[in-house]
């Protein structure tokens, strides 16, 4: 019987297989950031161990880094300690680090792909659940805990229990104005936050094949919000074109050899998935969340659902609690929900294409009175490119704040936070209670919807801006 893409990559990394034990898998790339690594380094030190493969390991600073005044000392002493601890650990163990201020610094899942380190058929891990992002290249990429970080540092391997395979096939073409973010939010609403539990999801079908690499990353990024171990997309010409010429991509004869291997990374015709879901792209529309988990979403044209309409008692209760926390009532039109803050950024939607599409909506327009809009590029390099393209000026002239790279308001570990009761439209990936700041209320949206929402002050899509003239020509 044939094998799926995920099974092929897995099989190519088995160091040791024994009856009744998890497979020992070799790890090709280990990404580190300041939050989930200090206790792992501590463990190494205590047991007198070293880092086995510093040449397969790379670190960046992202979660705690401020997005303004980055040349000044970090005000919060605890954040500062965490960054200093990472710097000390990387120096001591010989690990390459891109600290705040460095040209390659940024959110770890933006940095890996942009350096060309994330490649098809590799195994990628990071002490961070959104490591699933890297699966967009046909890599098997998953988030791990700090004990596992220590394990990979010491051994470059991980004992892993087997997974199940799921295919999500998206037929047809995404309608005009519908983005990868809308698609993945719709998928999570459909299969639920636990629907991917134990599975590696492979996204396939015509609509997926047409997506750019960055859009594919948005999709795979949020696989974890459906509970999946990982998300993957088979590598193709789009993948190869993205990688060619990047800093760490192979070159010369090695490029040809690599591409020949990468081309074998497709699910065999006769392979069988444990579960299959089919989605018709044509039915999709801009999608936003109304609740406090990423599965609680609906098309922007819909209304806040009535909790009583959920058949499952658990879901009903969850919806009731969510509406209470979000300060919404059943039947309210989503388009009528007013926001205080708009956040464009994160490893889901902080790449150059995301900034371009938000800027395209804002060009020549002003954001609504009383709305605060933060634009936080996913990495320093994305920021640089945005500046080269003049996008920063578009944002500033529209009244938004243009910031330095980092995780920022995606989780509010740095000073970029919502105040209690404040409401945001956010291009990030989690709308959990308090995720963006204590008492903050989050609506997950695409960059386009974020930008349109900033203009009207209410959840909106670019199509709603037809009546809002572009006042100034920029």
């Amino acid at each position: 019987m044939g094998r799926t893409l995920a099974e092929k990559v897995w099989d190519d990394h088995v160091v040791r297989r024994a009856e009744g034990e998890p497979d020992l898998l070799y790890i090709d790339l280990h990404l580190l950031h300041e939050v989930t690594s200090p206790q792992a380094f501590d463990g190494l030190r205590k047991s007198g161990r070293r880092v086995r493969r510093t040449d397969l390991t790379i670190a960046t600073e992202d979660h705690n880094t401020p997005t303004i005044d980055i040349d000044k000392p970090i005000a919060d002493p605890v954040s500062r300690t965490q960054l200093e601890t990472l710097r000390k650990n990387c120096a001591e163990f010989g690990i390459r680090l891109h600290p705040l201020g460095d040209a390659e610094q940024g959110v770890v899942h933006v940095v890996g792909p942009q350096l060309g380190l994330t490649q098809p058929g590799t195994t990628v891990v990071c002490g961070d659940s959104h490591t699933s992002t890297h699966g967009a290249f046909g890599a098997l990429a998953f988030g791990i805990g700090t004990s596992q970080v220590e394990h990979v540092l010491a051994t470059q391997t991980l004992p892993m229990a087997p997974f199940k395979t799921m295919a999500i096939t998206v037929l047809g073409e995404l309608p005009e104005g519908v983005t990868a973010k809308d698609l993945i939010l719709a998928i999570i609403a459909r299969i639920g936050t636990g629907g991917g539990q134990g599975y590696v999801i492979e996204y396939r079908g015509q609509a997926i094949e047409k997506l750019s690499m960055e859009a594919r990353m948005t999709i795979c990024n949020m696989s974890i919000e459906a509970g999946a171990r990982a998300g993957m997309i088979a590598p193709d010409e789009t993948t190869f074109a993205y990688l060619k010429g990047r800093d760490h991509a192979p070159s010369g004869a090695e490029w040809d050899e690599a591409v020949a291997y990468w081309k074998t990374l497709r699910t065999d015709e006769d392979a069988v998935f444990d579960h299959e879901v089919v989605i018709d792209a044509a039915e999709l529309a801009p999608f936003v969340t109304w609740g406090t988990n990423p599965g609680q979403g609906a098309p922007l044209s819909a209304s806040v659902p009535d909790p009583a309409s959920f058949a499952d008692p658990g879901e009903r209760l969850a919806a009731e609690k969510a509406l209470e926390y979000m300060g919404l009532s059943a039947g309210q039109r989503l388009r009528d929900i007013a926001v205080d803050t708009v956040f464009v950024g994160s490893c889901t939607n902080g790449r150059i294409e995301d900034l371009r599409s938000a800027a395209a909506v804002l060009r020549g327009r002003r954001i609504a009175e009383g709305v605060r809009m933060l634009v936080v590029p996913g990495s320093a390099r994305v920021a640089l490119q945005a500046v080269e393209e003049g996008l920063d000026r578009v944002f500033v002239e529209a009244g938004a704040e243009w910031r330095h790279a980092g995780c920022s308001m995606c989780l509010g570990m740095n000073p970029d936070q919502l105040s209690p009761g404040e409401r945001s439209a956010s291009t990030s990936n989690r709308n959990f209670e308090g995720r963006q700041g204590k008492g903050g209320r989050t609506h997950l949206v695409s960059p386009q919807v974020a930008a349109a929402t900033a203009v009207t002050g209410r959840l909106s899509s670019p199509a709603d801006l037809a009546d809002v003239p572009t006042a100034v020509e920029v």
Partner: protein, 197 residues
Amino acid sequence: MEAFTTHTGRAVPLRRGNVDTDQIIPAHWLKKVTRDGFEDGLFEAWRKDPDFVLNQPERAGATVLVAGRDFGTGSSREHAVWALQNYGFKAVISSRFADIFRGNSLKNGLLTVVLPQETVEALWKLTEADPGAEVTVDLVERKVTAEGIEAPFELDENARWRLLEGLDDISITLQNEEAIAAFEAGRPAYKPRTQVA
């Protein structure tokens, strides 16, 4: 890692599903660089409410958490496991756990027990009616017992053995040094490197 064989203690019924790791330990606690001292951050937002189950005086010293479906979803932070352990929990029972959380907990010796939702309901009813009721989680016999309840649970043999013996994964893996070196020798040259060796 401390070995886990069998444990008996009072339980905390947490009637909530989809408890994500942001609720278990909010992000601002993640700035610490140690593995201990997270107990005050456990369910921090909910603990502001005096009626929250963990705040009830009769729950003090309880060691078994009985939670709703899909416990530990969201962020991979292992701090969630440390917070539960620092607070004093030895075992968590739910009808379904998020994968990463479950992996993390087993690595730290916090036993996560999957039981059918009806059994979870029965445990909730029992421990709500009688906060002094004791629950035994027996990893040797692979069953959970409490007054009127006896429920077997599954755990793969390998994870069970590691927990029973209190074995640390890294030393087990390092016994395979030769296999790792052999695998490395066969890796293609086009694989990415972060540094020039």
